[in-house]
Amino acid sequence: MGSIAKIHEMLVGKQLSCAELTKSYLDEIDKSNSVLNAYVNVTPDEAMKTAEAVDKKIAAGEEIGMLEGVPMTLKDNISTKGIETTCCSKILTGYKPIYDATVWELLQNQNAVMLGKTNMDEFAMGSSCETSYFGGAANPFNTNHVAGGSSGGVAGAVGGNIAAYGLGSDTGGSIRQPASFCGVVGLKPTYGAVSRYGLIAYASSLDQIGPITKSVEDAAVVFDAISKQDKRDSTSKGSAKATFDTLDNDIKGMKIGIAREYLDGVRDDVKEAVLEAAKVYESLGAEIVYFDLPILKFALPVYYIIACAEASSNLGRYDGIRYGYKTEHYNGTHDMICRTRSEGFGEEVKRRILLGTYVLSAGYYDAYYKKAQNLRGTIISAFNKAFESCDVILVPTVPMTAFEKGNAISDPIETYLTDICTVPVNIAGLPGVSIPCGFNKNGMPIGMQLIGKSFGEAEILNAAYKYQQAQPDKFMDTKWGVKL
């Protein structure tokens, strides 16, 4: 049983009240957040208010939904009406949205108890959470290590037991990579499965919101709750079917593909863990097939060109006029805007804006952006072809385990390489789930990724669940249970 189901059972069985539950999470945040730095904004009043409403319903004998009263968190780039939403950037300090993101609306309708907003790389640009204006988030397994990024705060909070689950966003691996680093489950849905309305954009054609949870069942429950078509997001389609009901389907005969390219340059401990997992799958009756995806070596530059181009446009609006930070001293409007942006954005964000502007500027558009878009088409075709011979693809999530703090920022390209296993999924718009598959010799978690066909969330969660059942020790859910 997943953590969410356990909490649900306890609430329904009146083993504890939702207020008590929420209070215990808030106390735990008080204790450990100074070290983990997972939360950048804790919202105890709102949380307790919802918790009390849930308690009233339970007391009145009303039925409550699975997510009702379950304490959770949102990444700080998901808009919450009246609650500061900063993308962990100086430029959005003080900004309180006047509307709710669709995902938050859906969860509020289910009386989700939001404990607060969690840390992230500034505007989701980073792989370590260290570009956050509020400082990086620590890894709950070893607080000298990073939680990963960009949704490091959500992963750290879930891994550190200060949220039952959370929603992150994934543009090039920002859900799966920190999930892998923090030993939790992270699902990046198919592009269009979850509404982006209210998600502060980094790269619009790559961004997706998804759950970070302790167990595969939890991921399925949360995904099923948020994957609805939204008329406010033209690119949203909702999900084809609920994933929870098919988690336990037999995977005998399932073809699990391994692309050799994904194993290149991966650290040995990670590679071994993934190949070990492949053996687990064989023991469960699945068939392992190997194939090549040579086009993947271009995925990373394609990703950076497209992501930065879109970001340079998306981030043009932060000009100090309508919301957020504004510089104190200036002379004229142009000067005000330039100063506001130069002071308000961090180095990595500025670097990506400049690169994005460069690849879209006159004379370079064809060579970079247009070419990258064409390659995007080629990569999609290559995946489609691969899925002719397999049902899901098994690869590492990250070529390494969580690195020590302060090691990421020095060389931007070196840092970009950590995304090599995660970005192809975003480029092709496919679903990918990262689940724990072991620990390295220092006890840091290793993650593996299952990639599915477009809108194939049910298949990858089914495969993930079967692995979790076979290897329960690798998952936090059973190792620590729900810490209360």
């Binding site: 808009s79 509307y99 954009a201 033209s234 000009d319 409007t333």
Partner: protein, 472 residues
């Protein structure tokens, strides 16, 4: 040396849909500042655009009305530039796959001004500069626009004026825009260059931005033409640049500053999906189009036989031609209706704005009724004219002023009696007529008309009077 003017227009027209292009806020003009706004149109982080279906339909209608080709596949692009009136720092527009390709506007001299394309985009907000400070109102931000981009086919200021007028007429006729230049719902960027007459090669062009009246367009073009010719004549070179026209001084000046680097970095907007336009939909929209001003003009001249000048006056504004069509339903001679409108009703609608609205006290049905009385010989022209004036004064119908007896006509005996009375009562006129003064008869006829309260037939009366006088 003589120089030829070469000009192309980029015309922005606000579409009169109920809501903005990407959100449900009203497009109503004016309103208290920032009250026609929502998170989407002020570009709050995380918001997304959803395209208004009606905008696409209106644009297609506009395209059909100017003979454009409707694309099967159209896409939305982002035009990136940072300015306080643009809430997202990009304008959602179309570059790579616009809705309408080609088309033309035909001028009265027979020349066709070719169109390059028409695309849809969003309008920006409004800036008010006061003591150097800038106040921003986003009510207009997100109002749908079409931009009609012409080829450089315009060769004179008169052609330019007519081009703009023709676009106004046709867009109003099909009901996609009110094209009010004074309210900014129609604005032109004018590209202009000159070249020695007889040569083919284009000169370097300048662009005068945001012209908002036909008068100013003419004045600005005249100024810019002279400036360019003078520059070339004196050995200088025209620099390609963007200009603003100063109404007060009647001059153009450069808008360039080192702060605006112009590179719009267009790329496909990833927040919006492809627009596929089926041929069925195009045909359906074509069928919905009303008769276009050019077709109407042709019909008035060729089928109804109105003089060209009258036809042009009636087709300049959509409501007037609709009024004319309704008022002339079933009448024997539509020219009469046209005469009443141009001769009498126009005197009550003096300004262009009045003509555009054409809200006159006499409904077309009532004018129709009046003209039919005339057609049926029930009343005479003079009575019809004076009655129309009364109708215009009061808004009442013809029958409120014309009695049964007015329409009864005169029998032979009554006419004879009136003629006799006229002859007897005006010996001087009779004498003059007998002495060969043909005109004197008119006074006698006038007397009969007056005493018959306009019911008498002037021709019959004249014949009768002559008969009485000749028979002694």
């Amino acid at each position: 040396m003589k120089y030829e003017l070469v000009s192309g227009f980029e015309t922005h027209i606000e579409l009169s849909t109920k809501t903005k292009i990407f959100c449900g806020c009203t497009t109503q003009f004016g309103g208290e500042p920032n009250t026609h706004c929502c998170p989407v149109c002020i570009g709050l982080p995380g918001t997304l655009p959803v395209l208004n279906r009606e905008v696409v339909r209106f644009a297609i209608k506009a395209g059909l009305a100017v003979h454009g080709e409707i694309a099967e596949v159209a896409k939305m692009d982002r035009k990136n530039y940072c300015y306080p009136d643009l809430s997202k720092a990009y304008q959602i527009s179309q570059l790579y796959a616009p809705l309408i390709i080609g088309g033309y506007v035909e001028l009265s001299n027979g020349r066709k001004i070719r169109l390059h394309h028409i695309h849809i985009e969003e309008d920006a907000g409004k800036l008010i500069h006061q003591h150097g400070d800038t106040y921003v109102d986003y009510n207009r931000g997100g109002v749908p626009l079409i931009e009609i981009v012409s080829e450089p086919d315009i060769r004179s200021i008169d052609e330019a004026k007519e081009y703009v007028e023709k676009l106004q007429q046709v867009m109003r006729a099909i009901g996609v825009s009110d094209c009010k230049m004074q309210e900014g719902s129609m604005r032109c960027d004018v590209n202009i260059s000159v070249r020695p007459e007889g040569t083919e090669e284009f000169g370097t062009r300048t662009e005068i931005k945001n012209m908002n009246s036909i008068n100013n367009i003419a004045k600005a073009m005249e100024y810019e033409y002279d400036r360019q010719v003078d520059l070339i004549e004196s050995g200088g070179k025209v620099v390609q640049e963007t200009l603003r026209y100063d109404d007060a001084t009647g001059t153009t000046s450069s808008m360039r500053s080192k702060e605006d680097a112009h590179d719009y970095r267009y790329f496909r907007d990833p927040d919006l999906v492809t627009i596929n336009i089926s041929r069925e939909e195009v045909e359906q929209l074509r069928a919905e189009l009303p008769e276009l001003p050019a077709d109407r003009y042709k019909r008035y001249v060729e089928e109804i036989g109105l003089p060209e000048k009258d036809a042009a006056l009636l087709t300049k504004y959509r409501r007037i031609s609709e009024y004319f069509d309704e008022a002339s339903k079933g009448v024997k001679n539509p020219k009469t209706v046209s005469n009443f409108i141009i001769g009498q009703i126009f005197r009550r609608t003096e300004t262009e704005a009045d003509k555009e609205i054409f809200d006159v006290p006499v409904t077309p049905a009532r004018l129709n009724e009046l003209v039919k009385l005339l057609d049926g010989g029930k009343i005479r022209n003079n009575l019809a004219k004076s009655t129309l004036e009364k109708m215009l004064d009061t808004g009442k119908g013809a029958l409120d002023f014309i009695s049964e007896s007015d329409m009864a006509g005169l029998d032979e005996n009554a006419l004879l009696e009136l003629c006799k009375n006229a002859v007897q009562g005006n010996p001087k006129a009779v004498e003059d007529f007998k002495n060969g003064k043909e005109k004197a008869i008119k006074a006698l006829v006038g007397n009969v008309m007056k005493n018959s309260r306009g019911k008498a037939d002037a021709v019959a009366a004249e014949a009768k009077i002559k008969e009485i006088i000749n028979n002694g």
